[in-house]
Symmetry: C2
Subunit: 182 residues, 2 copies
DNA sequence: GAGGACATGTAACGGGTTACATGATTTG
DNA sequence: CAAATCATGTAACCCGTTACATGTCCTC
């Protein structure tokens, strides 16, 4: 049971999903490919934390729909209350900024502009998600119980939005700092 | 030549350093242990990107001081101007927030408070670094050439400060959002 | 002489990426 | 019938973490 396993349990605790859907849905939370996910699902199923039923579909290929078991939910509950490890950020840009003085000013500028563009496109994606989740909150907001399941998702998207805004701010500030050096 | 290799070249392009010093200095930029670094240094030395001389010390154990070669500098220059891959952030907190509804409110609160504390201590460390580098800028600021080598470092520390401030802001906002649910 | 900082390595294991492999179904 | 999306798996390789291993020098 590594972090990714708990991540899969996390998603399954809100919805039953197939391996394919898990691969899509985990993307904003953790980087992982399907080749990592399918074997983990099999091992977690053998350990009794999840179970699946084969869903026969006529419009699409058949799939395995995984659900969390009582044992899995227990395991997840214990893990959630455990203190979170410090985050690990791996960003090539750190090194490339550090040795900016080696590159021509136009190249340095392009590096920062490209990153700013990337962050802006991410920001847009998350803003859309945020709106969708704010609607959910409004609809269900009055009843505390239903609100709860969407609350974490709402917090998270909000976090991504703040992070992206901070990154964009940095890139734009750095580009300004770069100007007089030209 | 993976990203970490280029990171080591980056540090060596500013200063000659031992494996031990590289291990310390790379920490704010990239997570890596000495067991990853020493083998890489050996392979890069064999490829001719770096060279070392044995420094005999009387007050401390002897060390190998690595320097970047002309070939290494060439390699690094090409890499720096290459577009940066999108950053990879792995943070357990994402999953733990997502399934916050599974945990008791006090536990949820503690999770966010602990993260805020961590970010605040990081912020302090970086603010100290920032001040040290701003002094450097003031001293050397007038001559563009010398400024250049410290400029990237200055940008980077600034980025870390902004990131930490954004994370703290998030935690405090989330804690407020949590309150009425109590 | 014990503990801590300095210094350099190796080995085993687990996690993550890329590529290989296959196949159903829909849409243009 | 070709391309795109849905769907599930395996294998090889690289990267990263933890533990093992050794040794110097200084300070308390």
């Amino acid at each position: 049971m590594n972090t990714l396993s708990y991540g899969l349990l996390t998603l399954l605790s809100a919805n039953s999903l197939s391996g394919y859907e898990l691969t899509q849905n985990i993307k904003p939370l953790w980087r992982a490919g399907h080749s990592q996910i399918y074997p983990l699902l099999m091992s977690m199923e053998q350990q009794g934390y999840i179970s699946y039923q084969l869903i026969e579909q006529s419009d699409k290929p058949d799939k395995k729909e995984y659900s969390i078991t009582e044992a899995g939910l227990e395991q997840l509950r214990r893990w959630v209350e455990t203190p979170a490890e410090p985050p690990v950020l791996r960003d090539e840009l750190h090194f490339k900024l550090y040795s900016l003085w080696l590159s021509k000013p136009e190249e340095a500028k392009e590096l920062l502009q490209k990153r700013a563009e990337f962050c802006k496109s991410e920001l847009e994606r998350y803003k859309v998600l945020l709106k969708a989740n704010e609607v959910l909150r409004d609809e269900r907001g009055e009843t505390r119980e239903l609100k709860a399941t969407t609350f974490g998702r709402y917090l998270l998207i909000r976090k991504r939005v703040l992070d992206m805004e901070s990154s964009i701010q940095f890139c734009e500030w750095a580009l300004e700092e770069l100007e007089p050096a030209k």
